[in-house]
Amino acid sequence: MAETQMVARHIPDRLEGRGARLVKSWETLLVAVALAIFLVNSFASPYFLDPWNLSDATFNFTEKAMIAFAMALVIISGEIDLSVASVIALTSTVMGYAVQLGFDTPALVLIGLATGLLCGAFNGLLVTGLGLPSIVVTIGTMSLFRGLSFVILGDQAFTGYPASFSWFGQGYVWWVFSFEFCLFLALAILYGVVLHKTNFGRAVYAIGNNQTAALFSGVRVGRVKFVLFLLTGLMAAVASICLTARLGSTRPSIALGWELEVVTMVVLGGVNILGGSGTIPGVVLAALIMGMVTFGFGLLNVPGIVMSIFIGLLLISVIALPILYRRFRGSR
């Protein structure tokens, strides 16, 4: 009876085709920026287009990008983890300590990953268990984790990592493709699938857009967030293994200031810092862009701080551009 009033109006699934959506997407903008930088670099320095040089250059971003993947998920869920660089330091310190006790490579890796997970769990507990704002919690643990590493190491350094360990930071899988770069690619695909193709990824978006409604909808908000913090801890540990292996030594000041670079990478990749949106391809592109910028400037011997001006400008302008464009179009 009432059925008659409910004549279904047809609602199409989507208004725009896949192509139209792709053209308008953030990633397209990033691809354009990346291509431009690639071209400029190729013209600016004769050394740029050399496979080995490019391969060396990947080390400028691979470790940071690994963390950026997990960080992207955390930021999409509406939280942030500023302690990642300090987790690197603490993980590296604990591994260095384990070396002194005579552990070998496989054990070192396990110990490293476990330390990262513990740090992540600590952040996760404070954020989800006690309900504290993550930005503040991780500012605190940022000091705490690196501080612990200072307590353990003081003015010393841990060295003497086993030769096999150095493969993680210096080894090559095939030709110019280093272990780190291959790991970076593998993780990019893994995180891309997790975020875009699984229920877990959908839950991350739902939480980032409306945490309360997600909870009411049966998303286990606390558990998902906890897992996300575990993941950043874990990825920081992976990055720490690579970095430690690359440097062959541990100082408490290792990876100082990386947290802001990682966040910059994520945001440049189009992840909304307020949560709710963003993609892994965007983060991958941002990592490539930042790597190419630092390498290109490096070839011209431009001081790092001048590169950072450029990254800063790039960050603001890449975000401002679509806004300005929309406004410009809207005004006519």
Partner: protein
């Protein structure tokens, strides 16, 4: 002197001409004209998403129209900000309460136009005194210096009304002002409207409740799909005429309750209590039954319902589902057990603004549309299409952000989301709050069908006609306790009101 009720000879206090407003993908208003007259109440009615609130926002300087003009006393003006509108004497009580939890009541009333000392600094003492006077005018006995967050929802609404009156206005707009108020407060509001009218204010009154429109309005204007489709004097129209104008067709029975054979007990709740929110709650819900929960706003119904799905933790009590004891610690477990809750606060608890419609609908059902934890978009679209079309959703596409829908259409998405989980027990908390009459009928019909198909329904409602029309049985709550139980046969409005307000049965 006699009050002049025929406004035709008077000059409008404010007049809108040819106003259009387009949002991305939606033409909210097209070439709308409206005039408000001093000393007269104009009711604005229309389905959800007809553009009523958009018009209010244009009148108060929050949105800018794309086309058209606003004339105040015949002179063309425009309102670039809310301040400009206030200066021109336009004030509004908005549909959402837009207040500041952390600020004091007085400041909430005077923020932006606080009394100043000679040095130009804020004069707190005068502000508090003035606030007290205004609160008295709207019948709220509140201390102006307490923080707003310590107030109940109804009191907050009274503060919003006081704020609107703090501006010396000639035009007063009220967008569904009674939605959050209880019986007594609603009547005080009617009196206030009468007084404002007597003071010569031009009033625009938006409501989905026809009884109140016919109680206080002099004129009416009807919107449909962003257009003005009719206006005139209330005294010359009927409810049926208005409804027909609104939806462009006849609406059948508003409360189409089917007779359903009530089956075995499905859900048994016993000894539920919480230290501060509710206590001693027990009842049984049977198959095919619609159990109404009536009470005044703030009676604790929502809190109790949320404890059933594991949001608030009860300190004691047990649930039996089909005779088996179930422990539910989270909404996820509730959904798995087949108990779902359609929340009352749509914006905060229901819709996930920022996600597309189809993802909203499938969120609690992902385990069904996915395989081994991997999403399958085609299944998701199919599920979303199925349930949204049953509720007659109006949207441009299923890929559209729910945030771009009108309130009523958002509510449909939220209901679709819960139905898609194929629950055994569905708890609907104020399912038709702020929904237009057409959609309301659809929701009621659907509820009735759900019961007929063997579902058990709990319906929380503060509207007596809805409770009387739909419920097989009614439980009345007051201050966190059950204050009365009624079978359908013995229901009267008076009994409900007495139980809810705690008035003893006249001996």
């Amino acid at each position: 002197m006699l009050q002049d009720t025929t406004t035709s000879r008077m000059k409008p206090a404010i007049a809108l001409e040819g106003i259009s407003k387009t949002f991305p993908g939606v033409r909210a208003l097209s070439e709308v004209s409206l005039a408000l007259y001093p000393g007269s109440v104009t009711a604005l009615v229309g389905e959800n998403g007809a553009g009523k609130s958009t018009l209010v926002k244009i009148l108060t300087g929050i949105y800018q129209p794309d086309e058209g003009s606003i004339r105040v006393d015949g002179a063309e003006t425009h309102f670039p900000t809310a301040n400009a509108a206030a200066k021109a004497g336009v004030t509004a009580i908005h549909q959402e309460t837009v207040l500041f939890d952390e600020l004091s009541v007085a400041e909430n009333i005077f923020l932006g136009h606080a009394p100043r000392t000679r040095l130009g600094l804020i004069d707190w003492r005068r502000m508090n005194a003035d606030a007290r006077a205004l609160l008295a005018r709207v019948g709220a006995d509140l201390d102006p210096s307490i923080r707003l967050r310590d107030l109940g929802i109804a009191s907050k609404h009274l503060v919003a009304i006081a704020r609107a009156l703090s501006i010396d206005a000639r035009v007063v707009i009220m967008d569904e002002p009674t939605a959050a108020l209880s019986h007594k407060e609603i009547h005080e509001l009617y009196e206030l409207v009468d007084r404002l009218k007597a003071d010569g204010k031009a009033i625009l009154f938006i409501s989905h409740k026809f009884d109140e429109i016919f109680r206080i309005a002099d004129r009416y204007t009807v919107f449909r799909d962003g257009r003005m489709v009719g206006e005139g004097l209330i005294s010359e129209t009927t409810q049926d005429d208005l409804v027909r104008l609104m939806v462009g067709r006849d609406v059948g029975q508003v409360f189409p309750k089917q007779d359903v054979a009530i089956g075995e007990p499905v859900l048994t709740v016993s000894g539920y209590r919480h230290p501060t929110e509710f206590e001693d709650i027990h009842f049984e819900l049977r198959r095919g039954e619609i159990l109404g929960f009536y009470g005044l706003v703030g009676a604790g119904r929502s809190e109790f319902m949320q404890s059933l799905i594991g949001i608030t933790k009860p300190s004691a009590g047990a649930i039996k589902l089909h005779g088996e004891i179930k422990v539910i610690r989270s909404p996820a477990e509730a959904i798995a057990a087949g108990i779902v809750y359609v929340p009352e606060e749509r914006g905060r608890q229901g819709a996930i603004i920022g996600l597309p419609i189809f993802q909203n609908v499938t969120l609690p059902s992902l385990s069904r549309t996915s395989r081994a934890g991997f999403l399958r978009m085609a299944e998701e679209f199919a599920l979303a299409r199925d349930y949204t079309s049953r509720l007659d959703l109006r949207a441009a596409s299923l890929d559209q952000d729910v945030g771009t829908l009108s309130g009523g259409n958002q509510q449909k998405v939220v209901i679709a989301k819960w139905l898609a989980t194929r629950p055994k027990v569905i708890i609907l908390d104020e399912p038709t709050k702020g929904i237009d009459i057409g959609s309301k009928a659809a929701v009621h019909a659907f509820m009735s069908e759900l019961a007929a198909s063997g579902l058990s329904v709990i319906m929380v409602s503060s509207e007596i006609p809805e409770i009387m029309g739909m419920a097989d049985r009614v439980i009345v709550m007051r201050e966190g306790r059950i204050a009365g139980r009624f079978e359908r046969a013995e229901l009267t409005a008076e009994k409900l009101v007495r139980a809810a307000a705690g008035i003893e049965e006249a001996a």
